[in-house]
Symmetry: C2
Subunit: 414 residues, 2 copies
């Protein structure tokens, strides 16, 4: 039973207690087959490591912008099968947006040669985007033609203290009005992220000793035109001065060089590791409309507080409305003493997310663990269409059975 | 029998000789239901006119970037059902990329409430992108949540003479390296476009009396940061001087004000009208990988010349690899005397397009007229999957029968 195309899968789709009957590995199909700067396309086999694809693009003077903490080990087939997200979605989109075509083995054994490198192709149904994000349940992606971009020539990066979560939205709006798509990333960070790093990895260099409660990491990436000005001024300092005047920010650190920029990003990327060391009672990968982020955070924290004296480490991608809303035991306590509250917490948070028009899986997918939640929260007409498509393309139910599609005949769950 | 969702359909899907048995009009469902600048979302009913959606976005200080010659009359439901393209795809993507969610009536009569306004949502199969571009054959889109963008605060626009089509690619690469996504449009124009306007609409103001054979219309859109510099310099003049030195361009006109910019765009948008007045023997809406554009043009013209002394008016969207490769009778002759060559011309061009890894329908779709071409040129595994999906979601074949999907039981074509 094939699993998806590579091992670049995001946490939780396979469990030890309920293993998939067979896992298909494409880890030997790692070739990068072509890099074309004129087409802005890179073609790779599904088992190619994301970091190797990034490097091959960079060697050709281009950017492949998909950026994840696991980029050194995850594989592009898995990234596509799970429609991976990450910190650059704001500017460049998610994995689905970064793929022009795929080759795939369909459930009946036919090979679909859809490895086009076209920006526009209106020849029938969008089979590509159906396979992307299907978590291997409709076929196995074996090759992909990926979009490349001009690599920014210069970055301007700041870590700022925010008045509150609402200020993050105002600040992002202002940044986009001023810099347009040059805003590459805009990450929300809670001080618990810093605290958890200090607690579990005390040797990590933290840019703030006593950080504000809410911070944003802002990264701007400019083309070569930004190198032309005599003063080298990119406008970030001015912009932050205005944001301070407007009351959106309380403090700001601007990276003075590439090493400082890297320090800021290292902190951001170390948060998930620190989280794992602390041990979450439950982790939510949610999305809400951007305007509802402040409500989501305020009400979400209130609903968790009503359950127990738990800590919430909320961080995420403001422009995507994507929050990692993770729940931890009180300081000094251990996960095992609180894990019995898991379902109560999850229900409280997902109920709120759907009241706000959100999604219980922004970038991590459904796998096996979230099937019941999918049935509970998602639209029945959509689930019906998913079942019909699954039955039509995989009538024997041999492709990653039991995952993603609830109650399909032959999926092992009926 | 529903037809798609609005009347925003692109040429040729319905013919007088072979009419659809019933056309569903949503032209009274025109409401714009919500505009949210913080979410960067606009929600509209499917019958809303594209131009009205653009205006509503502009009133909220945002841009809805889908731009077509027919924007004053076409409707968003049709734009989505046909995955419309246009001149801003380079920067902002096509209709599919501009839609976050839809409400749709599925063939079994259930209403799918997929009107999410989320940037990330990995909860199962991508039903949205399956309905978008399906030309009404899988359901009727009734509402859509559309992506908005910060509106550029300043434009810099030039019409340049190109050394040859290959220079267009080099120039676009250089522009994107320097200005990144601020390159909003990059249109290739052949002097036949100017000639046809002069011939059929002699009162039109043309920026060039004796234009070069190949031209590019370059439009840069900047955020507010571009207004901050003392000199107001946006880098376009410098950039073109370097392009002249490099031999990519032979001449350049830079728009000095908004009226001149509008003049350049008026010429570009008048070309399709002039084409219709001249009368094409056959019009191709093709895409090839960007790097193959020069080969496509050179070989395409040679293959047409081998058929007869025809005129080729080739224009299109360089960054999308999308060329409108249209064939006209010799000067002074009329279409009726040459139309018998239509199939021969079409086959010569489509054969070439597929030799180059291209598509015979970049932005216009399949409809009824291109069904046989779809079978001839597209991948059989894809067609098989399309048939299976159509049969699964619309087993009675009541949704736009006879369109888009070849040889489906109950489609009226079997």
């Amino acid at each position: 039973v094939p699993y998806g195309g590579g091992t670049g899968l995001v946490g939780g789709q396979v469990s030890v207690e309920d293993p998939a009957p067979l896992i298909l590995s494409l880890e030997r199909m790692t070739r990068i087959l072509d890099v074309s700067p004129d087409d802005n396309v890179l073609v790779a086999e599904a088992g190619a490591i994301l970091g190797d694809i990034q490097s091959a693009a960079a060697e050709a003077g281009r950017l492949f912008p998909l950026t994840l903490a696991s980029e050194g080990s995850c594989r592009i087939g898995g990234n596509l099968s799970t429609n991976a997200g990450g910190t650059n979605v704001l500017r460049y989109g998610n994995a689905r947006d970064l793929c022009l075509g795929v080759e795939a083995v369909l459930p009946d054994g036919t090979i679909w040669n859809g490895l086009k490198r076209l920006r526009k192709d209106n020849t029938g149904y969008d089979l590509r985007d159906l396979l992307i994000g299907a978590e291997g349940t409709l076929g196995v992606i074996t090759k992909a033609a990926l979009k490349l971009f001009p690599a920014p020539e210069r970055f301007a990066t700041a870590l700022v203290g925010l008045r509150d979560p609402a200020a993050a939205i105002a600040l992002l709006n202002a940044a986009q009005a001023r810099f347009g798509e040059q805003v590459s990333a805009f990450e929300l960070i809670h001080r618990h992220g810093f605290d958890f790093i200090a607690e579990t990895m005390p040797d990590t260099r933290l840019p703030w000793g006593d950080p504000p409660e809410w911070m944003a990491l802002i990264d701007l990436g400019f083309g070569a035109q930004a190198l032309k000005g005599d003063d080298g001024g990119d406008g970030l300092e001015d912009f932050l001065a205005e944001a301070f005047e407007a009351g959106h920010i309380t403090d700001a650190l601007i990276a003075q060089n590439a090493a400082q920029r890297q320090d800021f990003w290292t902190v951001r990327e170390t948060i998930p590791l620190a989280n794992r060391k602390i041990g979450a009672v439950y982790s939510h990968d949610i999305a809400v409309p951007v305007s509802r982020i402040p409500e989501m955070i305020a009400q979400g924290r209130a609903r968790v507080a009503a359950i127990g004296p738990l800590r919430v480490n909320c961080f995420g991608h403001v422009g995507d409305g994507n929050l990692h809303f993770n729940i931890y035991p009180p300081k000094g306590a251990v996960k095992a003493d609180w894990v019995h509250l898991k379902d109560e917490i999850k229900t409280a948070i997902y109920d709120l997310v759907y009241e706000l028009g959100g999604s219980m899986s922004a970038e991590h997918g459904i796998g096996r663990f979230k099937l019941d939640d999918l049935v509970r929260y998602e639209d029945p007409a959509k689930l019906g269409a998913m079942r019909a498509i699954k039955a039509a393309l995989d009538p024997l139910g041999i492709m990653n059975p039991g995952a993603t599609v609830p109650e399909v005949l032959g999926s092992g769950r009926d």
